[in-house]
Assembly symmetry: C2
Homo-oligomer: 187 residues x 2
DNA sequence: GAAGGCTATTGATAAAAATCAAAAAATCAG
DNA sequence: CTGATTTTTTGATTTTTATCAATAGCCTTC
């Protein structure tokens, strides 16, 4: 439980009482390696804090799967579009390693926001950070060559290359797995 | 002023008093066609509601400019990463048509959030919508061919093709202007 | 209405990356 | 440990798109 408290603290110095309200709603969950947190067409009604683990979010395009994002220990993960709208998800999220999560349901979170504006404030700050990093990812993917994208990934998130397969990383970087393999050979 | 009230109403049935607080901080601004709302390296400290007009957000990559987004009457616009972090913007936003805006400063907005949690709630809902549409844009740009991206744009936002130049649309769709011109000739 | 400056189209070529195919290496199960 | 399966690398070819270059169209504005 300590990890999540530290993360929350970083965003905002929120009253102890509010933190306790939030923590009181968290459910501990374990997802074995290879299993899914959320499957395509389901409604994502849990927001998960990854206390320990590594997950991949992807969707299917003609029988192949395409990686949208990887998330790590210390990050929140959900199929955000589905969680926000409470409509079916078009993405699937799978555990690439055994995951130890703390989860809160959409309903509980909305109830908390109604009761305690500090928590909505905190959530707003977290959402803003996720928005900024999504925007950066979009721009990043837009104006770099295949090789530059790979080099930047090594620089910023080397653990992804360690933990995910070439094919999974390749679709995340928007290239074929053969192309990524050749880039790896060339450096 | 009516347009913005209607938009706010759609997100949340917020008390009249809160709406008035918010509206009280809005400044009316006109930006002539061709001028900029925010320039690269400046800190974006205004969130703008486009009461009427059309803008383009872009950044420079080697002397060329690359379009990030277009925004229309009825939408909010800011260099979000800069507005959120209050750090210099890497994007420039220009008016492609004469714009009539209502603006609120970052400071005023934060002050309002401290005083009135209904407004932070409203902002959270708006932010969520923008997050979802950004995510959709990312996925959209990732798994469609050049031609499919253009056809989808015609389908979903035909006004962009009317109002922006081929070069501006081409960089938005992640292709050269020659490629876009050929696609247009082929359909 | 002609000159000049943008914008768009068209053509030829080059570069980048995808695809198809096979071999090599790594991982897993029994 | 060993055979089977999966993943990764390597090679040959094709496709897609970018780049370079020239032409055509179209607004301005004098």
């Amino acid at each position: 439980m300590e990890a999540i408290l530290n993360i929350l603290q970083k965003f905002s110095n929120i009253p102890q009482e509010s933190v306790e309200r939030f923590v009181g709603k968290l459910q501990e969950t374990n997802i074995p390696k290879g299993e899914t947190l959320i499957r395509e067409r389901e409604v994502c009604n849990q927001l998960s804090f990854i206390n320990k683990g590594f997950v991949r979010s992807f969707y299917f395009k003609d029988k192949k799967d395409i990686t949208i994002s990887f998330s790590m220990t210390g990050e929140f993960i959900a199929s955000m579009a589905s969680f926000i709208s409470q409509k079916p998800s078009y993405e699937t999220i799978e555990a690439l390693e055994h995951c130890h999560l703390y989860q809160i349901s959409h309903q509980d979170l909305m109830d908390l926001f109604g009761k305690d504006s500090h928590l909505e404030h905190l959530y707003r700050l977290i959402l803003e950070q996720y928005y900024v990093s999504l925007e950066e990812h979009l721009i990043f993917s837009k104006f770099k060559t295949a090789k530059e994208r790979y080099l930047e990934l090594i620089e910023t998130k080397p653990y992804i290359i360690q933990k995910a397969s070439v094919g999974q990383v390749a679709s995340y970087l928007d290239m074929s797995l053969e192309t990524l393999s050749r880039i790896r050979a060339s450096i």
